[in-house]
Amino acid sequence: MMQSVVHTVLAGLSAGMFIWLVASGLTLIFGVLGVLNFAHGSFYMLGAYMCYTVLRYVGPDFWVALLIAPLSVCIIGYVVERWFLRYVYHLALPYQLLLTFAFVLIFDNLAKMVWGAGSVTPPDLSTLNGTVSILGRNFPVYNLFIIGVGPLVAAGLWLFLERTWYGRIIRAASSDREMAASIGVSVPALFTAVFVFGTWLGALGGGLAVPYVGLVTTGMGETIIIEAFIVAVIGGLGSLKGAFLGALVLGVLTAFGTRFFPAFDMFLTFILMAGVLLVRPQGLFGTAR
């Protein structure tokens, strides 16, 4: 029993880290740009496909792929922000959401055209397949690695936002755009930079997911974006701390749900979300509006 619980928690934590990677970029972009990006899940998916492509056609070194793939997706993020999103900041919310939704349709379809409608399987990644015994049962080392990456990204983000000049500018811009502009920051450039960085986080999640899931499909973005949304709601929209905690809780809860009540795994999440919102309508770390 103990063994089973520990393994479920670990599995949940590693799943939660992927949600966190997507939710962190989503939250950062929302916090600074004020736009909720439906296409963020597509960046995750594209990160995974690009990683697969590099592995397949460039070389079998996963780490090289992990370096190249997210950066290549950043170019797409740049295009989306610079040539489209930038022109709808002043429009009403539904238009912004629909614009990012249009990109979901476009990217999903493009991915199907480029990589086929079914799933693709990356070449052999057996070097990452090691396991370690925890309480007498084997657990994949790679998943432990993922559990390490999440907090690392969180710590990095925190240091960046709190301790660096750029971080302070970003925080200033998220609370008051005019103020940031008045101290000589080019707000449009800053927005582009933040969007591209958020894209990178999402794509990194996708790249990391390739050995974890073992196959890449077009649907993977749509699933994770919903989970990232739920996490953002639970944690409080715009709060990175909330997103991190929310992702871990959601990951673990879903793992328990799948293991013990397979028919109702999402239902637990729903109860969690409803409970949090009834007590704290603004989410765990959201500020009351």
Binding site: Y95, A102, F264, P281, R289
Partner: protein, 322 residues
């Protein structure tokens, strides 16, 4: 006086044209017209929430699904009477909308959109996972179209599409009429007050949250009606109905057609379905084509099709609202 007469004449002509469709056109066009009417019911109800009250829901697919599964389950276990089934579908959708709405109406704007999205996806996953009740990812199949019995004796068969068409048309006209009356009613005026200035509406003595919840349930009921009719049309109910990409459809067609008029969402719906058919005729990649069209529409014409038409003729919309 004359203007309203012209309007009635145009409406009557449109209605006649709609009624004539099964006589003058092929099966496929009859089917497509039904799809347009279903989407129209869905979107007209949805626009009571978005255009009238200013709330953007991304979870209305859940209520659509509740209507479809409600009708399907009722038909399978109680009686296949289609009128009762539709009523049960509407009621089921309203109940689900009440539960979801209760959680969501404290929020507005993006928070409301996210919450409704999340709640809608919960319904989706429930439908997907609860195989024993809903049939899971295969959908709930084998829904039949039993004849409609009216006034005790009159039996109207709706088995053929050309017969079922009038069943859909009747509900379509009813739904549009109800939506129209809501828009010009005191209730509708209060809703537009909430859209324009929620705080001031409170200072008019209006319990804003209750009104938001009410219109949420009403628009959920419209979605349930559309869902129940689709279940009859396709003889199945599918989990996809509750998926968020389906919830995005009424948002899309409302914005395409224009938020501020009654018929905007219907025009948008017709445009959406026509475009899907046309794009699909030339390419498999209709999502790509549609995404591009959507980009163009958002970047270029923000008032939607109806807005563009109105601008063209330089007149304001006659309906209530903005």
């Amino acid at each position: 006086m004359t203007e309203s007469r012209i309007r009635y004449a145009v409406l009557a002509a449109l209605l006649l044209a709609l009624a004539a469709v099964p006589y003058v056109s092929g099966k496929f066009f009859v089917y497509l017209t039904m799809r347009v009417m279903l989407l129209g019911i869905f979107a007209v109800g949805f626009n009571l929430l978005l255009g009238q009250t200013g709330l953007l829901s991304f979870g209305h697919g859940a209520f659509y699904a509740a209507g479809a599964y409600g009708l399907g389950l009722f038909g399978a276990y109680v009686t296949p009477n289609p009128l009762l089934g539709v009523a049960v579908g509407i009621a089921a959708a309203a109940v689900v909308a009440l539960l979801v709405g209760y959680l969501c109406v404290r929020h507005t704007e993006i928070y409301f959109a996210m919450l409704t999205l999340a709640c809608g996806m919960m319904v989706f996953s429930f439908v997907w996972n609860a195989r024993s009740i809903t049939g899971g990812d295969d959908g709930f199949i084998g829904i039949m179209r039993a004849p409609v019995t009216l006034f005790g004796g009159l039996r109207l068969p709706i088995g053929k599409d050309s017969q079922f068409y009038y069943f859909v048309l009747a509900f379509f006209v009813l739904a549009v009429w109800v939506a129209h009356r809501i828009r010009i009613s005191p209730f509708g005026l209060v809703l537009s007050g909430i859209r324009e200035n929620a705080r001031r509406t409170e200072y008019a003595g209006i319990p804003v949250r209750k009104y938001r919840l009410s219109v949420f349930v009403v628009s959920g009921a419209f979605a349930g009606l559309a869902g129940a009719l689709e279940a009859l049309l396709e003889s199945n109910a599918r989990p996809f109905m509750a998926h968020w990409t389906h919830s995005a459809e009424p948002v899309l067609v409302s914005l395409l057609g224009g938020l501020s008029s009654l018929f905007g969402p219907i025009v948008g719906g017709a445009f959406f379905i026509a475009m899907r058919e046309i794009i699909q005729r030339y390419t498999e990649n209709w999502m790509l084509g549609f995404g591009v069209v959507l980009l163009v529409v958002i970047m270029a014409f923000r008032g939607g099709i109806m807005g563009a038409v109105e601008n063209l003729f330089g007149r304001r919309s006659a309906g209530a609202g903005r």
